[in-house]
Symmetry: C2
Subunit: 223 residues, 2 copies
């Protein structure tokens, strides 16, 4: 297909496509004359992936470059490729190796993960995220206990093993696998968050009942 058709199919404007071509995010099309090139399904898949990283993952362009470089590096195994995308989606956590509280929290995070018997890379940034969370729970006087966290780990594991990884096409094109991982991680993360707040409302209604005046329901935040 021509660039105009690629634009129509992907809903990405032509100047943006030309920018991605110049930046090397999108491979060049097949040149059919001095001024004309044709594109195929692989270009469409790549544009869908870039859109997912940008609009769903809200990643900065520098990070998108690194993810695309991993997609194009065929020597990288699929698990390692998905790891690059996954870690790109994680919020950055500043480790404080000199802070004794932080160090203790990091050890508790590592112990907790070891107790789960999951395969997690020793340098996974998710470990620092969990340590940060333990520091916050402690600071707010909510304490951290492995027993309180374990039901979350079990629920997450069930959803991921039974549903989420089943949706990732491991043996198809690399672009598609990464796109699925990104949209799945972000969107189903939001889906779960909404379900949790709905369940809160429903269970609260059932436990303490609707009493007194009804509350105004339009007081949500503007943030």
């Amino acid at each position: 297909m021509r660039i105009s058709e690629l634009s129509a199919a992907s809903q990405v404007p032509i100047p943006t496509i030309k920018y991605y071509l110049r930046e090397g995010l999108l491979p060049q099309g097949e040149q059919t004359s001095a001024t004309r090139a044709v594109y195929d399904e692989s270009h469409l898949r790549r544009l869908r992936l870039i859109r997912a990283l940008l609009e769903v993952g809200r990643l900065p362009l520098a990070t998108i470059h690194r993810v695309i470089a991993a997609v194009q590096d065929e020597e990288l195994g699929i698990h390692e490729l998905l790891g690059v995308a996954h870690y790109a989606l994680a919020p950055e956590v500043e480790p404080h190796p000199d802070d004794a509280d932080w160090q203790a929290a990091r050890e508790r995070a590592d112990d907790f993960i070891a107790g789960l018997d999951w395969e997690i890379h020793p340098d996974a940034p998710t470990r620092a995220e969990l340590a940060q969370m333990i520091v916050t729970l402690d600071r707010l006087g909510m304490g951290f206990s492995a027993e309180a966290l374990r039901p979350y780990a079990e629920a997450a594991h069930r959803l991921v093993a039974d549903h989420e990884l089943a949706r990732v096409p491991f043996d198809g094109p690399r672009d598609k696998a990464v796109e699925h991982l990104v949209t799945g991680t972000v969107l189903y993360g939001k889906v779960f968050d909404v379900m949790r707040r709905l369940a809160h409302e429903s269970e609260s209604a059932k436990r303490v009942g609707r009493t007194g005046r009804p509350a105004t329901v339009t007081t949500h935040a503007t943030h």
Copy 2:
């Protein structure tokens, strides 16, 4: 206790406490002389709640005012009070009543919720959030299916019913119940998110195995 002791116990600076007193977010202390007032546990609880709304919930001050007004309005039932806090934590979603796609998504969201048999207010903003998510899933070609969402609803319900609501002190002071709800909703939401990404890594490692070169693990985003 004096204002200096209240400041030390709450870790809120004296000028900030004075600002909250002027703004009516914190009730006045008991005046013991023309220039001196004493404060008690209820003031400490209120400061903890304000800090939780500010630092954990990241709510703007105008919204915090509305939540505190609900805490102080003793005619408001506890379920309705928790609803005010809950809805304050929800991201704002712009409904598009004139857009046929949005309207269809909203109907599917309502149908899905009706199928769960949960007690959800007809005007709960969470319904609009779910509709927005259905629009996004559709736009990205991932489709929406009630079957795909139901496992998330069930997992959320189990966690909320068995663990989260057990932590909310329904029959204690109103400040404390709201503080627990806010920190619990936000922090355990993040806990689950981290667990899900850890489970993704582990299940991916177990399914496709670690092959090829190891990926660089320090490529996470700065956002």
